[in-house]
Symmetry: C2
Subunit: 214 residues, 2 copies
């Protein structure tokens, strides 16, 4: 049974998981401080890290393990809104997007899929969370599905109670503005068991595991 | 540059990392209490775990990441000593050893290699740690080398200062007897930086990273 997982979701001390004002020049809006501790080199495992293996990196390295497909919101793919301009945009990641699996991008404006040589492919679907998840589970072929963000997308899947595992990383910065992860989710913690650890870097890692469904 | 890594090395509160009296019936001797917390299903990544993703499991899951070869002591392979009896012994693991890579077994009694369909192969070499490591690095083909234990073997590699990374798991049990990991290694901590976390299970995870060599 495929699990639906969220990894490396950075949240500020005041609960923001992304900045406002995403533009071409500022992929994460005003929330740069939120991601300054993240070492993206470890997403496919600790082997790609030349530097010491820290607790943070060990935790980050779960990102790619056993994942067969990702679902992301349109805002993670690009800063555009409305109908797609004819600008050749293929996402923020250049010729080698790090996903290595099919990726389903939620948008009200479907367009042609994009295929990369490294196994990543982008598919644009106008679908509700449950529908998109069915597609992703099929594409994942027995592996797990990652909900890749941004936070509004994660929140939608949490609202629909479709998340089995959520790795939240609390960053000790105060943003004051941005996209709130937990908005409208009062009491969500009752559906999960939560284990937390702090690391010497100041980050707190929370592992939210969905309680067994009745 | 390949790193030399040790993962999931369980040590009791009194410093023992294996039991005495290993026999066919008791692969880990008298140290059963030491391994009772270990969930071996996660060694190839958190994806193979149906149960919740705990901090312990996240840490254990580094075991197989980016590993291209293992070196183990003879005692980890089997309970025999001296010349190999003609008993068809192929290790403790049956037809599907979990290693999935070449494994070099240190023994004064070389014998023919054993190849399994899942990618695991056992090679028996009469070699000093440095020599065995050269072979393993070549076999690993750019990936890292894991020193798989037992503790006497890890200790030999620590004495020769060949370890780059060591994940020690301190288990709150008192064994009173067994194989001491740190015997003869006074001051070894000066060569490493060490980061520790405790988890709710009572385990303590220590990440020992070799300081940059001058």
């Amino acid at each position: 049974m495929a699990k639906v997982r969220v990894h490396n979701l950075f949240v500020s001390s005041d609960g923001y998981a992304a900045g406002d004002y995403v533009t071409l020049e500022k992929p994460i809006g005003d929330a740069v401080a939120l991601f300054s501790r993240f070492d993206g080199r470890v997403i496919h495992g600790v082997d790609t890290v030349v530097d010491p293996v820290t607790v943070d990196r060990a935790m980050f390295s779960m990102w790619g393990q056993g994942i067969g497909a990702e679902i992301m919101g349109r805002r993670k793919f690009g800063p555009q809104s409305g109908p797609w301009p004819d600008d050749g945009w293929q996402g923020w990641w250049g010729d080698e997007p790090p996903f290595l699996t099919p990726v389903f991008i939620l948008t009200h404006y479907p367009r042609e899929s994009i295929q990369f040589e490294n196994g990543t492919s982008f598919h644009f679907v106008d679908a509700a969370p449950g529908q998109a998840l069915s597609m992703a589970i099929q594409a994942a072929d027995g592996l797990d599905v990652r909900i890749g963000g941004g936070p509004a997308t994660v929140r939608e899947f949490l609202e629909a109670d479709l998340i089995d595992f959520l790795h939240v990383v609390i960053v000790p910065v105060v943003l004051g503005t941005g996209v709130r992860l937990w908005e409208g989710l009062s009491g969500a913690e009752q559906r999960f068991t939560v284990e937390s650890i702090g690391s010497v870097s100041g980050l707190t890692h929370q592992l939210w595991n969905r309680k067994p469904r009745e």
